[in-house]
């Protein structure tokens, strides 16, 4: 109930705060103060600037720029658009994108942290657990100069560079691999623009896979790295004609596998479609296609086989699961192709027209488009077996090829229409190309991501990362960084484990956010011994086998030992309390494990 005294007191208190109170400034990772920032206005400015630049670009190419200049302008729009969307999303964040909300991102941060500390990139932050995607943590650690304090900055900047790399990779492959025509560079630029900025539609934020651009480039730039390598792998294969070049194609292909093994699998599926189409259409070079693809894929599998063996050893990925079942009446089959509406039709036209033009790279890329959509149609069947895993990645793969060919398809459709309309009139190729490029840019503009991207309303990870880390995570993990040795391994609260790795940069015995290592039964026995005052031999094995030095627990019951309280842990003779703090949400305690023979 409003009371006049309270009303007056509240107004006075607010005035007093404005006048004299001092707050710690909230800084973003670029070092700028975010206090008082109007995020809505900032995001609107980024969209407006992109729209204005895209229209300016359209006006420039409409004046009859040649193919080279048009290509550069369109590519520039793509680069500026991606950069603006990245900047608009990252600048208002006081944390790494995905912090506070994405378990996946925090896992990645943890992996990169422990590699930056000098541990093997073949292992996750669960000590001695073989890694799923070892290339990315290694690259991140290299980029940070093996300085763990710089890892979060690498995470902040990586999406920008990976997106730009994708633009140039698609353009490079297209120009080098497709037959030279009057519009090759313009087409290459539209393919790159589409692959990067037509990958998502405004309604995606309410869909099950959310925004593919944000989830691929911002949240998982390691997966986007796979997309960067794919056009280069396609180019290497298109140019293969000797055993040496075929093996080289296999070498490039295995790089895709090390970056992101699912993209390698999907790319190989597209190559199967490529060979299948060659044989189905009885091409004269069908045997060459088969030998080239067979050799490259074989070489790739040979090189990447240690990794595949690691996967089989470390992950139970062939076990079916109820969560991976799909209803036979699910709308998944139409979701991949139809959510992009008319852009899907344009991409189909672009892929068909590219295939029809007979260039080998064109046929490989167009087959990837078809392969992506065919793989997507397999999911309802996989869902019946409880094996519909990684649907999101297959969806983004579909979107990548759909976006790429939508850009090309619209340009070619515009060229075709304008050529027919101007049949008896001016047929200057540069003017025709310029007009078609301008028309395509304007028609694509409402669908280009930087023109509508509003992370405040469309991106839960942005919203989560805008908030500071909860104090009961931020403070203890800061303590870990400053007061525990870099090789320390933590047992205890499995839910807290990923924050130990992501923000504290330390390894753990078991984390609930990762798959169980194959030796998890033994780890659990050692963990139980540590928490429940078990046999000393088991506790000692924890030191000898897993280098466990600390136990971290909170007042939230532990999943594996809900009855064990913090006070009980504090009475264990081998646990020495080194940190104890009560926060509003939870109490956090850190214990040093004292082994027999340790110095007091």
């Amino acid at each position: 109930m409003p009371h006049i005294g309270l009303i007056v007191a509240e107004i006075r208190a607010r005035s007093a705060k404005r006048a004299g109170a001092k707050f710690l400034p909230v800084l973003n990772l670029f070092g700028f103060n975010l206090d008082g920032m109007d995020v809505g206005w900032f995001l609107a400015m980024a969209r407006l600037v992109f729209t204005a630049l895209a229209l300016l670009g359209a006006a420039l190419v409409a004046r009859g720029a040649d193919d080279r200049r048009t290509g550069r302008i369109v590519l520039g729009i793509g680069a500026v658009g991606h950069s603006l969307a990245w900047f608009a999303t990252m600048f208002p964040l006081p944390n790494v994108y995905g912090a506070n909300g994405s378990m996946d991102r925090e896992n990645h941060l943890g992996w990169a942290n422990v590699v930056a500390l000098g541990f093997s990139p073949l292992h996750t932050f669960q000590v001695k657990h073989l890694h799923f995607e070892p290339l990315w943590p290694l690259l991140t650690a290299l980029a940070s100069g093996f300085n763990v304090d710089r890892v979060e900055f690498v995470f902040q900047w990586a999406p920008l560079f990976i997106g730009l790399a994708l633009l140039f990779s698609v353009r490079f492959a297209w120009i080098r691999g497709l037959d030279e025509s009057e519009q090759t560079r313009t087409e290459a630029a539209f393919a790159a623009l589409g692959a990067l900025l037509l990958i998502a539609a405004p309604g995606d934020s309410s869909g099950p896979f959310r925004n593919p651009w944000a989830l691929t480039f911002l949240l998982k730039p390691n997966h986007a790295l796979g997309l960067v390598l794919v056009p280069l792998a396609a180019l290497a294969l298109a140019r293969a004609h000797t055993w040496k070049t075929r093996l080289f194609a296999g070498f490039v292909l295995q790089l895709v596998g090390w970056a992101f093994v699912i993209h390698m699998g999907l790319f190989v599926a597209g190559l199967v479609v490529f060979v299948g189409l060659s044989w189905a259409t009885k091409r004269s070079d069908r045997m060459k296609d088969l030998v080239d693809v067979g050799t490259a894929v074989g070489a790739n599998l040979l090189i990447v086989s240690p990794y595949l063996a690691m996967l089989v050893v470390a992950y139970p990925f062939l076990e079916g699961h109820d969560a991976l079942r799909l209803s036979p009446f699910s709308e998944r089959p139409i979701e991949g192709p139809l959510r992009l509406g008319a852009l899907f039709l344009l991409s189909a036209f672009g892929a068909w027209d590219t295939y029809r033009k007979e260039s080998r790279l064109g046929r490989i890329l167009a087959s990837q488009w078809l392969g992506a959509h065919l793989v997507w149609q397999l999911f309802p069947f996989l869902g019946l077996l409880g094996q519909a895993r990684e649907q999101d990645e297959a969806f983004y793969w579909c979107r990548f090829w759909t976006g790429l060919f939508a850009g090309v398809g619209l340009l070619r459709a515009a060229l075709l229409v304008l050529a027919r309309l101007r049949k008896n009139r001016d047929s200057n190729a540069a003017r025709l190309g310029g007009a078609a490029a301008a028309m395509s840019l304007i028609l694509l503009l409402p669908s280009l991501l930087p023109a509508w991207w509003d992370p405040g309303a469309m991106d839960q990870y942005f919203v989560a990362a805008r908030k500071p880390l909860p104090d009961w995570i931020a403070e203890p993990t800061r303590f870990l960084r400053g007061h525990t040795p870099p090789d320390a391994v933590f047992a205890g609260d499995r839910n807290y484990a990923r924050w130990i790795a992501a923000y504290g940069a330390r390894r753990v015995l078991i984390a609930s956010s990762l798959n169980f290592p194959n030796d998890h039964p033994r780890r659990m026995e050692i963990e139980t011994a540590l928490l429940r005052d078990g046999p000393r031999a088991l506790i000692a094995e924890g030191r000898d086998r897993y280098s466990i030095q600390f136990v971290l627990a909170t007042s939230d019951p532990m999943y594996q030992a809900p009855e064990i309280t913090l006070d009980q842990l504090a009475t264990r003779p081998y646990l020495e309390r080194v940190y104890d703090r009560q926060f509003a949400a939870a109490r956090v305690m850190i214990f040093k494990v004292r082994y027999e023979g340790d110095r007091p």
Partner: protein
Amino acid sequence: MIANDDLLNGLRQIATQEASIPALRAALLLFGGFASFAWVRRRPFLALLALSMGGFLGLGYWLVQMAAPLGFETDPALTREWAQAGVNALAEPKGSGFVFGTEPETSLVAALASSGMPLHLVVLAPQMAALLAHALLILLPFGFLKSHTTAAFAACLALGGGIWPGHAPYGSMILLPSAVLIAGALLGMLVAPAQQRMVRRAFNRSRLGIAAGLIAAAVFERALQGGAEPGITAALLLSGTTIILASPLRAALRRVFSASARARRAEGLLLLCVFGGSGLLWWDPPASVAGFNAARDEHAALSRPMNWISRNVPTTSVVLASPAYSAPIAALAGRRVLFSPGAGAEEQASLPEPFRRARLLESTRLGQPLARLAEGFSVTHLFLGPGEASPPAAPEPGTADEPRLRLVLVYQDIKDFRVFRLAKK
């Protein structure tokens, strides 16, 4: 009436089940497929009919789920509009603000309520606006395009949500129902000039330039507004551009595909893709329209005391309640209140005579409302919600110089909502 309510509630129960969404989408896809087939078989109006029915089904599925005014208690501006509409419909004197002593809010729903439309129909304004927008998109091309087949083609594209995915107007239309009237009026004014040959020729000459201008304006507007759904202006501009581009699009397809049968097939496929991708098929207002989820809730617990107030409190009375209940009392019970819905102290302090209002509240809280102030503000009842302390049953004797009233409990329910009447001692 009861049978209708039962039917509506039954439909709501079906529609709010998650499992019915794939069924809806399958049905919409069937409509799209049938329309595409009809188009290829040279039945443009059958195609339009199928897509119109599909569109009404897709819209109806979501609109029927709205049991409470959209934006009420979730959007401050819309909350005030609904509060004003309730008071305009049920309280006396007309023409005053829903907070005693303030100016009335102006909005479409408030105007409809003032015009004498029953409140239970006024709350359907967002739904009616969306359906009208749908009808407008079907009919509009026929007012502007000479060829009826092209008009049908344009209408099919537009009601699917337009050429550009994710820019359909339905979300913004239900949030701003008055836009459909403004858009309808503006477009109605353009229909007559559009029939003149000179205007038509001039338009045809600059059609692509106009389309480019509209696209640019729409993108700028969306860039400025932001949000998960496009603003109403952007959505309508892009719908208009879709209609403008329908004729050149058909001409282009005829140029590219020399045989008209192939061109028709391409058109049919385009209709299917646009309807399957752009708008209603994937529309998910609980995720993209602010306040939609709250509008699915009937406020059942609150409706009992509000109904009681509506039936038993005089229409000229002002109800004293905490700001949290100001909007429900005004919107659902149709009675004016003493405090603004906002909880902020500045907002209450900006009302006329804030100290006298606060003094009346304080004296009422102590069980001894000041008669002079209660009469001055026309306050006759006190409303308390769960957790709010009742005034003391035996208040301490007040000073003799100020006449006081007493509080008589006249309503209490299981949720602990209470209404007291301010009665003379």
